[in-house]
């Protein structure tokens, strides 16, 4: 007699170890998995809710300064080290992983205006109100030794900002003029001036490392090439720009933070119109820094908030604020794209997550897969009203909320007025001016 026996290969259903996941044979026949859209929609909704619930961006606060923090700098080679300069001339070096201050230096008399790390991370530079540029060793001095700068350059005027070249031993300062310095020399190798006598910020282009840009007090942004003897071009805007930051992944784009509550992203090849106007702040924007991936940037404002903007979006995707955080003066995005550091008036440096609901630490592959799936679902259903409503909801303090509403009303009124004027005047006599065009006064060659 022939007996037929069902036989299965145990490899198909037996786990190798007990730690493995049970193998589940699956049938992907769509008829047995109906309602895929509605099921995914529900999942997406849940994912958005969870994302908002887990959105706890605040990580830590570093206190120790005795005055408002005026400038921040990242260590070029180490993620966990951050330098900060305060309004009383004190510079502190922080260890982020331990959340403690490693070293304190009384660097200047008066404000520390600017601070930057050398590209190799071995030393850092500070400029202050005492008209000096100082170079310091990153390593603390030996026991019993005084904190002494490696180099001190005494200038003629106050320096207001400093930035170091990406790969070479040169740095740029700004004050009455924009000066390019060689580290080995005590006088600038080049100094640019173009009808302005006070600059607030100078930044090297991290990609095209010979290019620089600076913000001046006459509402202008000036571009330089280190190799040329004269500046390249100047844009004059309606209000003054405070700082600017180059996109680290796009050589020709930079973003400047302006006094008119907005940020402007420019393409340096077409300066007459900004690429994007980023609006959302309700007070002057004081600092801006790009994420190292070049996809987003963070801005600090006088309105006591930090906002994160996608680089090509007109509005922010995130707003961070706490009760105790006052005017945020400086902000930095960490080099691993995970954290944001903000220094504010009330003497604290705050560490935030760049992605508010991100889980810190190592993730198991399954966790990762689940998070990716959730992210994908959120992206897929982001236009659906319920999902959008939940994903976009943010809490704002009352006064900020009011200010925002007020601003919106003002803007609407202005728009209405312009519309009316256009309506009651000869066709074509009142041209339509787009929001982008409004803010640039002129481009000077």
């Amino acid at each position: 007699m022939k007996v037929k026996v069902l036989c299965r290969n145990p490899d198909d259903y037996v786990r190798e170890t007990t730690r493995d996941i049970q193998r589940v044979p699956r049938n992907y026949d769509p008829t047995i998995h109906p309602f895929e859209v509605s099921r995914e929609y529900t999942r997406a909704l849940n994912a958005t809710k969870l994302e908002r619930i887990f959105a706890k961006p605040f990580v830590a606060s570093l206190d120790g300064h005795r005055d408002g923090i005026n400038c921040l700098a990242k260590h070029a080679k180490t993620l966990s080290v951050v330098l900060s300069g305060a309004c009383d001339g004190e510079v502190k070096i922080w260890n982020l992983s331990k959340r403690e201050c490693m070293r304190t230096i009384q660097a200047h008399e008066g404000f520390v205006r600017g601070i930057c790390s050398r590209f190799c991370g071995s030393s850092f530079f500070t400029v202050g109100d005492d008209k000096t540029v100082k170079q310091w060793n990153m390593e603390p001095p030996g026991r019993g030794l005084q904190e002494e700068p490696l180099n001190t350059i005494l200038g003629k005027a106050v320096y207001t900002g400093i930035d170091h070249h990406q790969t070479e031993g040169t740095f740029a300062t700004c004050g009455q003029t924009v000066d390019i310095w060689d580290e080995q020399r005590s006088s600038p190798i080049r100094s640019f001036s173009w009808g302005v006598d006070s600059f607030s910020c100078v930044r090297y282009n991290p990609v095209e490392t010979e290019l620089l840009a600076s913000c001046a007090s006459d509402r202008s942004i000036i571009l330089y090439d280190m190799r040329e003897s004269a500046p390249l071009k100047k844009i004059i805007m309606q209000l003054r720009s405070n700082t600017l930051c180059w996109n680290p992944m796009e050589a020709y784009n930079f973003t400047c933070s302006n006094e008119d509550y907005n940020l402007y992203t420019y393409d340096m090849r077409r300066l007459d119109v900004p690429v994007t106007v980023h609006m959302d702040h309700v007070s002057a924007v004081l600092d801006v820094d790009y994420s190292p991936t070049g996809k987003e940037f963070v801005s600090a404002s006088f309105d006591k908030t930090i906002r994160i903007f996608p680089k090509n979006s007109g509005h922010s995707r995130e707003v961070y604020h706490t009760k105790r955080m006052q005017h945020v003066i400086c902000v930095k995005w960490s080099a691993d794209n995970k954290y944001i550091l903000s220094g504010s008036d009330e003497m604290n440096i705050r560490l935030w997550k760049a992605n508010a609901s991100e889980k810190l630490g190592l993730l198991t592959p399954r966790e990762k897969a689940a998070l990716n799936y959730n992210q994908k679902l959120r992206d897929k259903f982001q236009h659906h009203p319920q999902v959008r409503r939940i994903a976009r909801h943010r809490h704002l303090p009352r006064d900020l909320f009011k200010q925002k509403r007020e601003l919106r009303e003002m803007k609407e009124a202005r728009r209405r007025k312009a519309q009316n004027v256009r309506k009651h005047s000869k066709p074509g006599s009142v041209p339509l001016v787009t929001e982008k065009e409004k803010h640039v006064v002129s481009v000077v060659e």
Binding site: Y28, T31, V37, R269
Partner: protein
């Protein structure tokens, strides 16, 4: 200012004084003021060789003379060496002096070394009356400099454009951009950073140095290094194996050829030749089938050779060999045969070709005549579409025949040494195989080369792929949602009715989606905004409450925009294509039996059982609803709905206005007509032609809250958006790999790694023609259209396919 100065210069010229053009715009003013002192200064300079006293005296005089005059600008003296010299504070002792060109060049005539040409030029210059043009002002020169520099730098910056656009379009970016290649490092790389520290090591090193051992110098040449970099280990192994095999084969062939060349037997060579001819014919036949164009080429070649033969006297039996054979022919059978063959060949070659004509009888004749020639000579030119069998020549079908004829002459010879021949054929087969191998290698190598220096652009499929998928999904969905089975009637009309009914169910969706609302700028802007409010969300309940808010929000403004806003369906019903609808008498349709709706969730039940069950079920239902007149109820319902939807006539006539009113009096007809307002007819009902369906066109607010009311920004039309939504990404519906691919995050960062900004090494190498470059994810050195790149990146399957093809 400049104009003023020029005028002054002209004046001076009129006086006969040649002026050296001033370089500074501001110089003129100074000069003007100082002009009274000119004489003094000149005198002072004339007596330059005089003592200090004299100069002091001159100064004193100057001071005295200046006392009485108006206050003059003070000239500063340059007393110490300093880096920066103001243009205003230069002590110009010789300011007033006019230096004539003739003064400077007076010695020119005397110097013998000066060439005549320059002298002539100088003379011309002296004779010229007009002054030189002023150089541009400082501002202007600076402006020009700036412009030039700006153009240069912006051009420089533009080099990054390709990389940046690539990164923007990339599905996934992995940061940091430049990651060290994993895998073992070569000894030199490891050793490079290491130095001898301990005394023992130092000693060993010194010994090595004394013996001139290579320590640091690379063992590989740069070319070798590059080749190592270019391919992976396995690939290299495979290639090496191929090379080895090819080399072996080559040597084998060479040896064989040498051996064959040495064979003296004429017979052997004759056979060889014949075999070659045969092989050629075979190949030619093959070619006709596969590559008609190539065959035609071959044919032309053959024609040419034939013509050459005809022109020459090769087979005329007039050669040396033929003469000898002719003598031998009397006695030798074989020789006679050979002569015969020759003659036959001659006949074949010298035969005149007949042009094929269209007529039938001609054709027959042709067939006879053309027997000697292979048939394909008469074939029409190969036609491009080889698919169509009718377009091919008829004669090509009889390939076997020419072979036979060609071979026929040989048969006698062949039969003699069959055994040998058979062996040879075997050999030939082997050879063929080897050749095939070789060709294969060649092809592979070529392919690889192609890939190396130019990744073969893969046609961009991505865009087409999606719609296909969608269509499939649509079909599947359409089948799965409801299956309407009709047991009795299988007539076409009936089917169409079913289809049209089915269609019209989705018609509404279709129509609504076919008019996509234009994505407004303001809408897009608004979509970006965060909803910032005073509510702090902490728990799930809060989020639920948020949702409730949405419901409230959306319901309130809804009535205002309810009618015009075409809502986009987010549920899975796919819009189906419109088909021609037929007007059907409702009564006729309604007499039919109720249709059975088969739900998709019963695939396991066996068919027969189902039918039985089905019959039973219908019986039960009939019994249960024996008394109900469902159909008439339904019709009533529908009529009511239709009536409710119709526009009502509003009568606004007021009796007594403009005429007499009272009991029994009615307003006039004219007036009534005038004041009866008819509302415009409502749009046609969707279920107008569907007798057994009521389609409610009221907006369902509970569903509307979950629907997208406006077409989101990046999408062009609603079908795009719907297809995007319809395609599930979850593990429930996709295999593991697809799932992973679908849910791959856009940006991947490595934990604890510093992401350096882009550097010049990421820039593609500058080429004369193209500047395409490497992105973050892929490193391609060549110019491949971005679209194809994108496509490839999206479907790595394609890559795999390509690899496997190799």
């Amino acid at each position: 200012m400049a104009r003023e100065e020029r005028r002054r210069n002209e004046e001076r010229n009129r006086k006969g004084v040649k002026a050296v053009p001033a370089t500074m715009a501001g110089g003129g003013n100074n000069e003007e003021e100082l002009s009274p002192d000119d004489e003094h200064i000149i005198s002072a300079s004339e007596e330059e060789d005089g003592s200090d006293d004299e100069s002091k005296h001159a100064k004193l005089l100057e001071a005295i003379s200046s006392l009485g005059k108006r206050k003059r600008m003070k000239r500063t003296e340059r007393s110490e060496a300093s880096v920066q010299v103001s243009e205003f504070s230069v002590n110009a002792d010789g300011t007033g002096e006019k230096v004539n060109l003739s003064d400077l060049l007076g010695t020119m005539d005397k110097t013998p070394g000066a060439p005549n040409k320059t002298k002539q030029q100088l003379k011309n210059l002296q004779n010229r009356k007009e002054t030189l043009e002023l150089p541009l002002s400082k501002q202007q020169t600076e402006k020009i400099q700036r412009e030039v520099a700006y153009d240069k730098s912006s051009k420089e910056v533009s080099r990054w454009e390709t990389v940046i656009t690539q990164n923007q379009k990339a599905e996934q970016l992995v940061f940091p951009l430049r990651q060290d290649p994993t895998g073992p490092k070569r000894m030199e790389q490891v050793v490079a950073g290491w130095k001898a520290k301990t005394p023992l090591e130092k000693e060993i090193f010194s010994l090595l140095h004394s013996n001139n051992q290579p320590i640091h110098d690379p063992l590989l040449t740069p070319a070798e290094e590059a080749s190592i970099k270019a391919m992976s280990l396995e690939e290299a192994k495979i290639r090496q194996a191929e090379f080895r095999k090819a080399r072996v084969l080559q040597s084998y062939y060479e040896a064989k050829a040498r051996r064959e060349r040495k064979i003296k037997s004429k017979k052997y060579h004759k056979l060889q030749k014949k075999a070659k001819v045969k092989a050629f014919l075979k190949q030619f036949d093959e070619m006709m089938k596969t590559d008609p164009a190539g065959a035609l080429e071959e044919l032309k070649k053959m024609e040419l050779s034939r013509m050459q033969e005809r022109m020459s006297l090769k087979h005329q039996n007039s050669g040396k060999w033929a003469k000898s054979k002719a003598i031998m022919a009397k006695y030798d059978d074989a020789a006679r045969k050979a002569m015969q063959e020759q003659l036959e060949m001659n006949k074949q070659l010298t035969q005149k070709l007949v042009v094929p004509s269209d007529d039938d009888d001609d054709e027959e004749r042709n067939v006879e005549e053309a027997d000697a020639l292979p048939d394909f000579v008469n074939d029409p030119e190969p036609i491009l579409d080889s698919v169509n069998p009718w377009m091919r020549g008829k004669l090509t079908q009889e390939h076997s025949e020419p072979e036979v004829t060609a071979v026929a002459t040989e048969t006698a010879v062949e039969t003699k040494d069959e055994g040998q021949n058979g062996q040879r054929e075997d050999e030939e087969e082997e050879e063929n195989e080897e050749e095939k191998l070789l060709r294969e290698f060649e092809r592979k190598r070529k392919l690889r080369q192609d890939e190396d220096d130019d990744l073969v652009p893969v046609p961009q499929e991505e865009k087409q792929v999606i719609p296909v998928d969608v269509a499939e999904a649509e079909e599947v969905a359409g089948e799965n949602v409801i299956q309407i089975s009709d047991d009795e009637d299988k007539e076409e009309e009936e089917e169409e009715v079913v289809v049209s009914e089915f269609n019209s169910l989705f018609n509404r969706l279709m129509k609504s989606s076919s008019v996509p609302p234009v994505p407004e700028q303001t809408g897009a802007e608004e979509a970006e905004l965060l909803d910032e409010g005073l509510v702090r969300v902490r728990t799930m309940d809060d989020l639920e409450a948020l949702q409730q808010d949405v419901v409230m929000d959306t319901t309130q403004p809804a009535p205002a925009s309810a009618t015009p806003a075409p809502s986009m369906e987010t549920t899975s019903e796919p819009p189906k294509k419109k088909k021609k609808k037929k007007g059907i008498d409702p009564n006729e349709v309604l007499t039919k039996e109720a249709k059975v709706i088969k739900m998709p969730l019963a695939p396991t039940v066996v068919e027969e059982e189902e039918e039985e069950v089905h019959a039973e079920q219908t019986a039960i239902i009939k019994e249960a609803f024996a008394g109900d007149d469902v159909i008439s109820d339904f019709l009533k319902d529908k009529r009511k709905q239709e009536k409710a939807g119709q526009a009502e006539v509003v009568d606004l006539t007021l009796p007594g206005w403009g005429e007499w009113g009272g009991v029994g009096l009615k307003p006039s007809k004219r007036k009534r007509r005038k004041f009866r307002l008819k509302a415009p007819a409502p749009p046609l009902r969707k279920d107008q032609n569907l007798p057994d369906v009521i389609i409610s066109e009221k907006r369902n607010s509970s569903v509307a809250n979950h629907q997208v009311s406006q077409l989101p920004f990046p999408f062009q039309n609603s079908t795009q958006f719907e297809s995007c939504v319809r395609f599930p990404v979850g593990q429930t519906w996709n295999t593991q790999t697809t799932f992973r691919k679908l849910t791959a995050p856009k940006v991947v960062t490595k934990m604890g790694a510093i992401i350096e900004p882009m550097s010049k090494e990421d820039l593609p190498p500058v080429k004369e023609s193209s500047g395409a470059g490497s992105g973050a994810t892929i490193v391609l050195g060549e110019k491949v259209e971005e679209e194809t790149k994108k496509a490839r990146r999206r479907n790595p399957l394609q890559k795999k396919k390509k690899k496997s093809r190799q």
